[in-house]
């Protein structure tokens, strides 16, 4: 199991938890979608998994290893997180950023693969520009290419399509699918059913802070029906 959570409850004010008793199991080779209405707790859950939000109880395990304050530097290397509006180090170029982050993960940038991904996303001309001068879409591409290059066992994405152009969206579907097929896993939060039906194997439906249902994906309509049934808008 790449990721396991046991009874994870997260809060901003202790008496009003945003996520409650979340139990998750993420297996290798699969793409998971996290679905939920606004305010359901998707971003909070992802922030807990990414160690950004520290106010939680319960257990988070990556590749069997429990995430604690003492081992977090090592355990964080099992996953890479891309938020919906990635704030990357503005003073660096995308190439320098990727090199820097790879060194933090104890890896080196795979140059041929980088060249291939840049071609896929039409990103070659932006590789040496400063991130601070890039558009939202190109910042998103920087984070996505970096995540795909790192090949961590788990790639976590919060609304991965924000800011991307139509070509990049089409390409990212294939890349994420291939990423999972190489033995990794992908967990993405989204409001868009087409991406779920195109690339996801399972959909986790989060409602009022709890995972109410896990659905094996067989088509857009089936996921939609399950989602609306759970959130009570049939």
């Amino acid at each position: 199991m790449i990721l396991e959570t046991r009874h994870v409850t997260g809060w901003y004010t202790k008496h009003a938890p945003v996520i409650r008793q979340v139990n998750l199991e993420i297996e290798p080779g699969k793409v998971y979608a996290l679905l939920g209405a606004n305010g359901a707790g998707k971003t909070t859950l992802l922030n807990v998994l990414a160690s950004i939000h520290g106010q939680y109880s319960g257990e988070v395990r990556y590749c069997g290893e429990k995430l604690t304050g003492k081992n977090d530097k090592r355990v964080k290397r099992y996953r890479y997180f891309i938020p919906d509006h990635p704030a990357l180090f503005d003073e660096m170029s995308p190439l320098a950023f990727m090199d820097f982050v790879h060194r933090l993960y104890g890896k080196t940038v795979d140059s041929p693969r980088l060249a291939a991904l840049c071609e896929t996303f039409g990103f070659e001309t932006f590789l040496h520009r400063k991130i601070g001068a890039l558009s939202l879409g190109n910042r998103q591409k920087t984070a996505l290419i970096n995540g795909l290059l790192l090949e961590c066992p788990l790639l976590i994405l919060d609304e991965p399509l924000v800011g991307l152009d139509a070509v990049a969206i089409e390409r990212i579907y294939g890349e994420l699918r291939a990423y999972a097929q190489r033995g990794n896993a992908v967990l993405l939060s989204t409001h868009l059913f087409p991406i779920v039906s195109r690339i996801c194997d399972e959909a986790l439906i989060l409602h009022q802070g709890t995972i109410r249902e896990t659905v094996a994906v067989h088509g857009e309509e089936q996921v939609k029906a399950a989602f609306f049934r759970v959130i009570g808008h049939e």
């Binding site: 530097k73 964080k76 003073e91 170029s93 320098a96």
Partner: protein, 376 residues
């Protein structure tokens, strides 16, 4: 008219948020009293002919502070939001200049100016009329300088002259290099640090080389070197990247070490210049002893301020100037002065004792910060 009043209110509240005006005024009053007790009266004496110097000083301070505030405001998302609204640009500039005047000149510079003028009126160096006229002229010169500074920055910003260049980079990064590159690219932080350092060096030079001040005043000015607040905001400055830093496998020790080395590097020129001035023009002090004391002070104050900022970062800012203007700046000043105050007694006791005292003070502060409430 109501919209102008509402806009002014929004701008003013945004600039003074997180501050406690009464406490600030009380702190300024305390500072004025301390200054007048420590600084001999001949250094604050003003005559009718030298009122012009006070006027020029006020205008220069207002120009510098308004340039800094304007540069910082250009980065504020709220400023961009206001630009998108049906608000006249000239009105916006005028109102912001007024806000900057109130914040910097009215509440900070003018109390000192008025205190100097009042003390000179009481010593009969100038008449009451000259004092009142001088005060009014300083206030007017400050307002004019604020207007010029803000207009110049907004005008240049609109025409793209203040955009950072180049937009390409092929550099490799580590924690230390990242700090230097960010610092060089952030005009507000750079100017704030350079301006404050130059002000302290200028003041020390004037006291030492021109006025030939005594040992006590020089040692007091050396203590003030530690109040340069750049090391105390380096973690707060990570506000835009705090989520990224939390999510990446970053070693906290590595990040802290990078910032500490960087902070020492940018503080070193200030201490070196001050040491050079005191050695060249100051009264007879043991040079090696002074060097050791200043080195200890530099190392310890930087360490304690950085540690404080790591434990209690201030993320309540929307443009860089607000990092320095937060209410916690008094805590940072107190920390700095507490650690380096043994410098003032160094000429009366052995260097070992003064150095040990600095270490004890720093140790106690580090312990208190560690045990205290932690944020971020």
């Amino acid at each position: 008219m109501n919209d102008v009043r509402a806009l002014f209110r929004v701008l003013l509240l945004d600039e003074i948020k997180g501050r406690r005006p009464l406490k600030e005024l009380a702190a300024i009053l305390v500072l004025i009293v301390v200054l007048f007790c420590v600084v001999p009266s001949e250094y604050t004496a003003v005559h009718a002919r030298s009122l012009g110097v006070l006027l020029k000083g006020t205008a220069a301070a207002a120009l510098y502070l308004s340039l800094l505030s304007g540069l910082s405001k250009l980065k504020d998302r709220k400023y961009k939001l206001l630009l998108a609204m049906p608000v006249g640009k000239t009105t916006l500039m005028l109102l912001y200049a007024a806000v900057v005047w109130i914040k910097h000149i009215g509440l900070r510079v003018m109390p000192f100016v008025l205190a100097i003028l009042a003390s000179n009126v009481s010593y009969r160096n100038i008449t009451l009329l000259e004092g009142a006229g001088g005060g009014l002229m300083c206030a007017a010169a400050g307002l004019a300088a604020c207007w010029c500074g803000i207009s110049a920055v907004f005008f240049l910003g609109d025409r793209g002259f203040l955009r950072s260049r180049p937009e390409r980079s092929a550099m490799k990064f580590g924690w230390i290099r990242r700090e230097f590159v960010r610092f060089a690219g952030e005009k507000v932080l750079f100017l704030n640090h350079a301006g404050y350092s130059l002000f302290l060096v200028f003041f020390l030079y004037m006291s030492t080389a021109v006025s030939r001040a005594g040992v006590e005043l020089i040692l007091f000015l050396l203590v003030l070197l530690s109040t340069c607040s750049t090391p105390g905001v380096l973690f707060s400055w990570e506000k835009p990247y705090r989520q990224l830093l939390l999510s990446l496998p970053v070693s906290r020790g590595g990040l802290f070490a990078g910032k500490y080395i960087f902070a020492l590097a940018i503080m070193f020129p200030l201490y070196a210049a001050a040491y050079g001035i005191v050695c060249a023009f100051g009264p007879g002090l043991d040079r090696w002893g002074l060097l050791a004391m200043m080195a200890i002070s530099l190392g310890l104050t930087t360490l304690v301020k950085l540690y404080y900022d790591m434990k209690r970062p201030n993320y309540d800012w929307s443009h860089p100037r607000q990092m320095f203007e937060h209410k916690r700046k008094y805590m940072l000043w107190l920390i700095s002065v507490t650690v380096s105050v043994p410098l003032m007694v160094y000429s009366y006791m052995s260097i070992w004792f003064a150095g040990a005292l600095q270490m004890v003070f720093a140790g106690c502060l580090l312990y208190a910060i560690r045990k205290g409430r932690t944020q971020g």
